[in-house]
Amino acid sequence: MMHRHELPIGSEQSSTPTPSGSSFSPKRALIEFAFLAFALAPLFHFGNRAFLGTFSTVFAAIVLEALPFMLIGSVVSGLLGEFASQGGILKVLSKGGAGAPFIAAALGLLFPVCECAIVPIARKLMQKGVPPAVALAFMLGGPIVNPIVFGSTAVAYGLSWDFAFLRLVFGYCTAVFVSFVFALAFRNKRALLLPLSPFPMHENGPQRPSGTLASYVGRARSALVHGAEDFLDMFPFLVMGAFMTAMVQSTLDRSFFVSLAANPGVAILLMMLLAVILSICSEADAFVAASFQVSLPLSAQMGFMVLGPMLDLKLIFMCLGVFRKRAILLVAGTTLVAVFGLMLLFDAYVRWVLS
């Protein structure tokens, strides 16, 4: 029995489909092989045990921290695929028109998930018929516009609730803006790796004999299988992103960034760059941003906190399993420009207030 309705989107079109609908991509296998060979090299870097200590600790820490959240995302993704009907929130997101990105970007308030959990869920939403631009608004806004991030930001900044609120507002505005640009740019082009042909949807989910305990058990098992497949498809991207992040964290001197930040514009740009390469979880990044309070303006710290959860190395790698490269480039470019513009305005406002 083939489950055509569950076409994973983690492979290029040139791939050879397997019976599950997943596929073998020679290019991806080659990339993974090259990565594996490269990734094992630091183990033989015996001359510098201190480097290996830092690198292995940071690499393992990022993956171990993200793993439970990715599993949450995968389980939710599997349950969505098997049990979610086309009513409720899916209907709002799928058929909400221009209003849908505004709702999607704020969904994190109801479903607080971090960036590691959100990619598998957004992917499943798209498979369920939610337009990619709307799912993107959820993916970008969710890790910032959520109560846990709001609380941790306030605590990191000495219970500054207004500063935490500003972060949410900036994140929300950026997510909605990028979503609209994405929708315009990819109106007639494919943004995803495989066409997300709508699979048979019924009012109560995919058609199966229903009402019996056996049918529910079967669907639950099926949800687990799909969750497991999603996880296996996405997890290698997380590993690659975490590896690159750990490599950068183990070699980059943060005080170098501070020394370059002579004016606010440069400081904002540098902190945005730092956010991309450090790839710190959105629930903890405010504490790292706050450590720059003595040396950098508020706008640069805010730029770090707004951009990081939307665009960092591990997220970019994970997006490689969902979007085409040109779509990732557009999202990355638009997000960078939007956050930079917002932070320049914020900087001017802060200076005006202080003057």
Binding site: S56, A60, A61, I62, L224, E229, L232, L252, D285
Partner: protein
């Protein structure tokens, strides 16, 4: 034959989940996960430990119609990528963040009051054992008092002669967000302690400015080398 190939991949996929589940079990039982994560993370790791075998079982029992296509055509490559972090967990055993990480993360010492929402209670008494975080969060309360604290030794060209920096890392979620907390230590025998050594410092708390930065200073009366503690990091209370 094709069915056999796919069935084989399913084994690899289920195997990957079971390897991770075993590793998590080991990390939880030994408490080794605290070298990477905040202690409270045990609950999330337990959740992961529950889901991973379920995923493995689901893939295993799914039958040939639902093979693990996600293991790609060369399953050992994918398996290698999936378990790579565990190889580094093993490789990094007995290692924690130290002076190498500190050098890259010294961006400014004056942020500790930001944790003040959950600052620790002030420890009373003569020569109390306090953490570096206690000193930074309640500096005024400890200034001029004799205390004992534990940390690692750091020195480079920016540390004044006759001093070293005693430091530990603060972790909010995981080692990737680790930030240093430190105090300068002065004593006639500071050169006897090598980089990254764990020490117990007993002395009077004061202040010292080096360049643009102001650090707490401990005028040490006694410094002794100690074994690395079970929990090398400090975990600030958030709320």
């Amino acid at each position: 034959m094709r069915e056999g190939v796919y069935s084989n991949r399913r084994w690899w996929a289920a195997g990957a989940y079971l390897v991770w589940a075993s590793a998590l079990l080991w990390l939880l039982l030994t408490g080794r996960y605290q070298a990477f994560l905040r202690p409270g993370f045990w609950a999330l790791l337990l959740w992961a430990l529950g889901v991973l075998p379920l995923f493995a079982a689901a893939l295993f029992w799914a039958g040939p119609s639902l093979p693990s296509g996600s293991m790609a055509a060369v399953p050992w490559i994918r398996l290698g990528v999936l378990v790579l972090p565990l190889i580094y967990v093993m490789a990094g055993q007995e290692q924690t963040l130290g002076s190498h990480a500190l050098k890259n993360r010294l961006s400014g010492p004056a942020f500790m009051e930001r944790f003040a929402g959950g600052g620790p209670a002030i420890v009373e008494g003569d020569n109390p054992l306090v953490t570096l975080l206690d000193i930074l969060q309640n500096f005024k309360a400890y200034e001029g008092r004799k205390i004992t604290t534990h940390g690692m030794v750091y020195r480079d060209e920016t540390v004044p002669p006759g001093h070293f920096l005693v430091f530990r890392f603060l972790i909010v979620c995981c080692a990737a967000d680790a930030l240093p907390a430190g105090a300068l230590v002065t004593h006639e025998e500071v050169d006897a302690f090598e980089q990254d050594a764990w020490v117990s410092v007993e002395g009077v708390v004061g202040l010292k400015t080096v360049g643009d930065l102001t650090f707490p200073l401990i005028q040490a009366e006694r410094i002794t080398k100690i074994d690395p503690p079970k929990d090398p990091y400090l975990f600030p209370r958030l709320f």
